[in-house]
């Protein structure tokens, strides 16, 4: 049951460039979306979120874009830094916000 999909298992970007991580969803009941970052041997760490009533949310180097009609969201990191190298998970919530549905993750590697 892949309600949230991250089709790119890995992404490699040069330091200073933009990283774009993509996420697609199928459940139209999702109304809140979150991005988490995960390092090995650690739990997911919240990065940024967006409500379905918005199409963009920005926090420093991180911007999330939501295209509801396409059921697609993306996370932009600019400029990318080596410390950004981690697995990035997209997650979604339905109204009430009790259960996160995660994507499979994208391994980002930022190279010097």
């Amino acid at each position: 049951d892949q309600q949230v999909k991250q089709n790119s298992p890995s992404l490699s970007v040069q330091e200073g460039r933009i990283s774009i991580l993509n996420c697609d969803y199928t459940n139209s009941m999702f109304d809140y979306f979150l991005w988490y970052k995960k390092y090995p041997a650690e739990g997911p760490t919240f990065l940024i979120s967006i409500s379905s009533i918005k199409d963009k949310n920005e926090d420093g180097r991180f911007t999330v874009f939501l295209n509801k009609s396409a059921k697609h969201l993306s996370l932009h990191i600019v400029p990318s830094q080596p410390g950004d190298s981690a697995v990035y998970f997209c997650a979604a919530l339905t109204g009430g916000g009790n259960k996160l549905t995660f994507g499979t993750g994208t391994q980002l590697k930022v190279e010097l």
Partner: protein, 113 residues
Amino acid sequence: EPEVTQTPSHQVTQMGQEVILRCVPISNHLYFYWYRQILGQKVEFLVSFYNNEISEKSEIFDDQFSVERPDGSNFTLKIRSTKLEDSAMYFCASKQGGDYGYTFGSGTRLTVV
């Protein structure tokens, strides 16, 4: 910064044995969760707990699983009779209220042999 603490970080157990995974959520948080991630797969919801009862559970969370908040600070996940397929990373999470500020612990790696 407040943390969700999980112990142990790694647990090895024999098939059929009971295991208890422990979590100390953030002290003023009211909602508690267990998630798991089988190696190479996505993070999956197991159960949510609020006001001393389960508020939602997934189909993974069958009769072999139980949760408890025995003393107002710990939040435990018990697996009664472990199977090989229970081997996974188990994450505890908590949040304060009706917000979306979930905080995850570092996880317990459960290996069933």
